[in-house]
Amino acid sequence: MTTAIEQIEMYLEQFTEFQRLSEGHTPRWLRKLREDAFALFCERGFPTTHDEDWRFTNVAAIARTPFALPPKNATPLVGSVLQPWLMKDAAIDLVFVDGQFVRELSVLPSLPGVSVSSLRQEFAKPPEALQLHLGRYLDTRRDPFCALNTAFAEDGAYVNFSRGVVLEAPIRLLFVSTASDVPIMIHPRNLLVFENESQATVIEEYVSLGSGPMLCNNATELIAGENATVSHYMIEREQREAFNISTLRIQQKRNSNTASHSLLLGGGLVRNNVHPVLAGEGGECLINGLFVGDGQQHLDNYMHVEHASPHCSSRQFYNGILDGHAHGVFHGRIVVHKNAQKTDAKQTNRNLLLSDDAQIDTKPQLEIYADDVKCTHGATIGQIEENALFYLRSRGIDERSARKLLLLAFASECLGRMKPGLARAHAERLIDAHLLTVSEHSPGHDGADLAQSGRERNWEEVG
């Protein structure tokens, strides 16, 4: 086994080579941004479970795998392999293969006031727009994965909505990783800027072709201008050997309204960071998610909601369904800054455990420095209710379908919080198909056994 130190050296080698190859066509400010971030990564190294932010998630398997950057001259994908992941009703569909934007596979019509392109293309242009935002919000000091992402930032999506532009149909960003002989790492970096009063929906979707260990360490900076309304969807559908570390950093200006919806349906070890900062008065933020795990999946949801201005509200709702030996984590951190009076923050995590070996760690963490705030948090852990199952079965619905219906009902709480529209319909289709597979291989429980242990455990506190 290689030690962590050796792995850092491997990253250093890769980083040096990466910077060398991009010399000449990379702006100086970006090279500097990468270097600083890499230095931070080296300083910190990979987190361990002694780290409070990573208490429930052991990333040793990531730390000891020698990941390489994807080769530059890979054979191009033919469009037909993307068939299973097509989303016809997206207004714009950007496709990234192993982290690189592929123009030929993308659907990119020109829309007034909407500028969408790849980050790599943007780097070649005058820097103002990018330089203003890129790397400004992501917390590279606290999170080594964010530092690593910034160090290797090379491509991803750049979206800019001009003031007052409203687009109903979603913009979808599809990240496909391909099969490889050696473990590959990719670091997609997205910058989504929504000027004042604009309105948009963005879907980030991560999928894989083939299998084998790989690391997708993506990071998105999303800026919601004054009065902007933005829905963001993170959909994780990668294969079971994939490591996925996702960070969504939202910067909210005055009276902006954002919603982050996460659907974790795939991946082996997944860490989903959502970090909104309510930086202007009157901002509202919904952080909504569903994670469904079975087998050996590890799905960690780390929320860090920062109330930095008065009169803002945040709502966190995460629902988990865990079967087999799956391990789920909900870590909800709410930080209320000193001047953020009249903050209204709520956090709810509900879980269904379908097997004896499934596990959930749920942890609220409130840090309140203002004195006139309302913060509540609560969590429940339960099983499929035997009464409800029997009720459905007594009407002729077979056990498997009944279980699926009950899982769907539980998941529908999450769907119900999404604005009706194409993105929600997309999410609904994926959840429906996915829960069918879960209800298929989850065995019927003995009724008596469930009657004894079926009572929900729950707790709620008001602070």
């Binding site: 409800a388 029997f390 009720y391 079965r393 002729g396 709480e413 008596a448 009657a451």
Partner: protein, 272 residues
């Protein structure tokens, strides 16, 4: 035993739909039913009466194939098939329906969707074509009118936020849509005001037919004023201690269960 009484009322050509023989049931090691014998023909309405804790609901739930109850002896033949070998969903597809004493709230599943799924599961089992929303809706609306239910209620989740009366009416609505061969009403009258009771009874009576049997489980005689049974059986301590016609219900109403319980105890203490 009053079995001959039962036979007197029977017509020759009636089909034996349900036959319970020497049924013994335990729950968590405790014997609840201690040898039940009962025959129900198509077209008949039987009422099972008895004091609290006599095993009425257990009998209803065993017939609906709830697995928490353990059958230790006896058999149940339904429509010529072994009911005890069936799962709850199979029994339902074969034509058993139980209106729950405590209907379950299921947030997240729409009423109409649930009912159409149930109907289609049953139709599929019977080799019939599934019903699409266009065919389902007119039939559904007619049943809603019968139960005097607001269609808006059906857009809500199953029983969620329903009043007690609405829940019970919803049970009878489901029965009216699924058209079972054997309808079991488990204390459907408990907690109902007189108006709701009348509506429920109207729905049930509209469903009485020569090819359908009903088992009305109740503690009180009140419901039987509205749904007049052909036979009344009194269940005490896990046994049917007396069977008779509707007049038996009136007698119970008048005298209470005390006398019959006393009588049952006396019989039980006499060595065989």
């Amino acid at each position: 035993m009053e079995v001959p009484e039962q036979n007197k009322r029977r017509k020759e050509d009636q089909v034996n739909l349900l036959e319970i023989k020497n049924l013994h049931v335990t729950v968590a090691g405790c014997e609840i039913l201690k040898g039940i014998d009962l025959e129900v023909n198509a077209g008949e309405v039987h009422s099972i009466m008895g004091p609290n804790g006599s095993g009425k609901s257990t009998l209803a739930q065993v017939l609906a194939r709830r697995e928490t109850f353990q059958v230790t002896a006896g058999e149940i033949v339904f429509g010529g098939k072994d009911l005890l070998a069936m799962k709850a969903e199979e029994a339902a597809c074969e034509g058993v329906f139980m209106a729950f004493q405590y209907p379950v709230e299921i947030p997240g599943i729409g009423n109409t969707y649930f009912l159409r799924s149930a109907l289609n599961a049953i139709r599929k089992y019977r080799g019939q074509e599934e019903m699409d929303a266009m065919d389902f809706l007119p039939m559904f609306r007619e049943r809603l009118r019968l139960l005097e239910m607001d269609e808006k209620l059906m857009n809500r989740s199953v029983n969620e936020g329903f009043s007690g009366g609405e829940k019970k009416r919803n049970e009878i609505l489901q029965m009216a849509v699924l058209e079972p061969k054997l309808a079991i009403l488990d204390e459907t009258d408990s907690g109902l005001d007189i108006d709701a009771l009348r509506i429920v009874a109207k729905g049930v009576n509209a469903m009485r037919s020569s090819d359908r049997a009903m088992l009305v489980v109740t503690h009180y005689q009140r419901l039987l004023n509205h749904i007049v049974p052909d036979f009344v059986h009194v269940l005490v301590d896990g046994r049917i201690v007396r069977s008779g016609g509707p007049e038996l219900a009136l007698e119970l109403e008048e005298k209470g269960y005390g006398w019959i319980e006393g009588e049952a105890r006396a019989t039980a203490s006499v060595p065989a």
